[in-house]
Symmetry: C2
Subunit: 473 residues, 2 copies
């Protein structure tokens, strides 16, 4: 028995089963009660303590904190782009905790399952069978990994001699996620080397503008090396014209990356599949499992058409990580050759288990149902005099706001959102579109029903009617 | 009920409890049987399948794969630097799966607990109360985050205008972990900008050589910006002279980072604490919870003395991530302001729970017991004519090998290690020291006992005696 093993296994076993029951209770009642509940002051105070010198039993606190999460498991959580998770996700977490593997490499079951998940994803996106990939924490990390490969292919000396800032330039729409800019910063390219291409009225990248910007940069002696298409822009859900982007990338001989954080997974359904076909022509695609696929936080994926380029950018093992033909240091797929992390948990297991449990057809139908719910909400907004749409509904996101004359609409709508959150009724978030604050309702939630949206609309209008007098200008 | 919720909750509940029991059985028998077991061919074949279109039940496979992990839960696992995990780690994984929070920011319980863990760690390392930090996947990511902050402080224009490769240069010992080199690559600095300082006979950085290299680089017009000290080198466990490194960093006005992947946590014990005191003077420290602290994979930490510099390097939120004074978009600590990831699981919970459950004093005693076991093994190696030590034992790692005349010792010792792994007896790994292959025995395992080391030594000698004739030169 080890120093940290339970002294009384029966008691430990009983405690684990009790916590499991409390956790299952929490998941079984996901659709009930308040959406978000602020942490009670006394709990917050008790969570702040001195360094624990002596042992104590945290199990009661683990139960006590459960109601005070983000609220994203509730059907009326519409904030940002959060997945709701699925109860069955608890099974692989239990198995993975018992195994406690390091999935960085070597010959054991974790790399086999990770490779299997990558192969499935590559096939679903439309990549060839010899595609490469990696399970990552999420699209932010996937984007960094993808653009590093693009950087190192465009500039052979970057890895050894460093980047010459400002020479390599890339392009994304002004609606692209901030993780693209962050990747340019992280990789030493500089955020100014990322050109923000303006959008059309549908918040999709303007392809003529992109072509003109590339031409202009080339004339200035700069080296365009990548274009980043967005499949599901975070503000409004817009999908760039990926087929045209693929054409431009081919014509200009630059890397084509797709940020499909949530949108890419809509390829499993019918309603958005056609607009996502261009992903198959990308050099790399990054997306999350924990958003629209409802895998528990956190898990994402980055895929590459060119395994050799992917591997070349990350494989440089030290002596103590040398592989061998046989023994535990064997194994064909070492994740350390494909990304920045060496010690890695068995993140792939929950993705594998989720895809097996539900099958991709059901997951696609669930995504399609969310798209239809967004259209349902769009109709409800359109039917209401006090509500004005702020953007077209491209996928699963509605941006609109309560309107009235003689009122500071930005401040009023911000207050409406805070009121709904604090009252526990619903959690939309906000964004700014063309300078104006919008209530933003994102539906990536397999629990949301029409009635939840009816309630949301009526509560927004009621709150607006009541609060508007406080915001008269 | 959501599309992905169980249709029969009673059946799902029974399945979850059955899997929990199987997982507890696996953990309760961690010290029994083989260390590493290769995946049976038929299981490997069944794990390779077409994309799952239709639902199926993965619970049986989750049970079936459990024996085929890395083996690091077993007391005779000595490979690389793996933690063994602790059974109590399953509790926070269950609770976290039920909550399914995104810990990227906002006002809920996860950021409160993450901040608490960071505060405890900062205090334990000896940082001031206003220190900053982030829970990360591991030291590889922590090192990237730390050196990005150092980069951006040294070169104000790096974030916007990119790196000028080769100008900023840094230093670590030639025994430092490859993640430092990887960070230089990732951040656009170039791996050649990382100077490898030679070591003394104890595999610690040669401080005179460091000073001379910094002086030489300055004379060449380059800009030294950081020194990286190693607290527990991966080959032999050496700890650099951190106090002198802190002096040099102060004198040279460069950032002082400590890679303490496993070694840093020995500060909780008595035996290595004095040699780790210099960490308190570092600008940043990165270390893992999943190694010597036995938290389940994966979790690491990066700490900063200078919160403002840490924040400046990562805080640039987009409109859709704007915070507010009240509502769910409130909250003081948004992890997205301190690292590259936006969607983040509740990784901090298992660290918090582990530290509460065991208390840091017990964790320190367990680490000290490993150090004593390494000394015990050192004595056993010294007492054996057929075994020769290859490096001093600084902490918890023994490097030695079987010796005999007229034999290819590199090939023989490699074969001994593979034999021990394949036979399921023990899992040491190998490395090369001064060009020669060594059997490397790392003890970061709270289950290892003296008898395990006795068995290891006798099996190595037996294997060497039997196999040596195959390797005659």
């Amino acid at each position: 028995m080890g120093d940290l093993d339970p002294q009384d296994w029966d008691a430990f076993r009983a405690q684990a089963h009790a916590l499991l029951d409390a956790s299952l209770d929490k998941m079984q009642t996901a659709s009930d009660g308040r959406v978000w509940t602020p942490i009670p002051d006394d709990l917050r105070a008790r969570l702040q303590s001195e360094v624990p010198r002596q042992p104590s039993n945290p199990a009661d606190v683990l139960k006590e904190i459960m109601p005070y999460g983000v609220g994203n498991t509730h059907p009326r959580f519409f904030g940002w782009v959060h997945g709701a998770g699925a109860p069955s996700g608890i099974l692989p977490e239990i198995a993975a905790a018992a195994m406690n593997v390091n999935a960085g490499g070597r010959d054991h079951v974790a790399p086999v399952i990770e490779r299997q998940v990558i192969d499935w994803c590559a096939k679903l996106i439309g990549f060839d069978a010899d595609a490469s990939g990696l399970i990552v924490t999420g699209t932010s990390m996937g984007t960094i990994v993808a653009l590093k490969v693009a950087r190192d292919l465009a500039d052979e000396s970057a890895m050894k001699r460093g980047v010459i800032g400002g020479r390599l330039v890339g392009y994304c729409s002004d609606q692209a996620h901030s993780c693209v800019k962050r990747a340019f910063d992280m990789l030493g390219l500089g955020t100014e080397a990322l050109r923000l291409v303006p959008c059309n009225d549908a918040f999709e990248m303007d392809m003529d503008a992109l072509r003109a910007m590339i031409t202009k940069d080339r004339k200035r002696g700069l080296e365009p090396f990548c274009v980043v298409g967005t499949a599901g822009a975070v503000n409004v859900g817009a999908i760039d014209d990926l087929e045209t982007l693929a054409d431009i990338a081919r014509d200009e001989d630059v890397w084509f990356h797709v940020d499909g954080a949530f949108g890419a997974t809509a390829i499993l359904g019918e309603l958005a599949r056609d607009r996502l076909s261009g992903m198959a022509r990308a050099d790399s695609v990054a997306f999350d499992f924990h958003k629209w696929l409802q895998v528990n936080y956190e898990a994402g994926c980055v895929l590459f058409q060119n395994e050799a380029a992917h591997r070349a950018s990350f494989s440089d093992r030290a002596e103590y990580l040398r592989g061998s033909e046989r023994g535990l240091a064997g194994g064909a797929f070492w994740a350390v050759d494909y990304g920045p992390e060496l010690s890695r948990g068995f993140r792939a297991l929950k993705v594998w288990s989720h895809l097996m449990e539900h099958g991709v057809d059901k997951l696609g139908r669930s995504i399609d149902r969310n798209i239809k719910l967004a259209q349902y909400l769009q109709a409800a907004v359109g039917a209401h005099d006090q509500l004005a749409p702020m953007a077209p509904v491209a996928l699963n996101i509605n941006c609109f706001r309560y309107v009235a004359d003689g009122v500071d609409l930005d401040a009023l709508n911000e207050e409406i959102v805070i009121y709904l959150q604090e009252a526990g009724i619903a959690v939309p978030s906000t964004t700014r579109l063309n300078g104006a604050l919008a209530i933003r309702v994102n539906i990536t939630n397999h629990r949301t029903q029409e009635a939840d949206l009816d309630l949301l609309v009526s509560e927004i209008v009621k709150a607006g009617d009541r609060l508007r007098c406080d915001f008269t200008v």
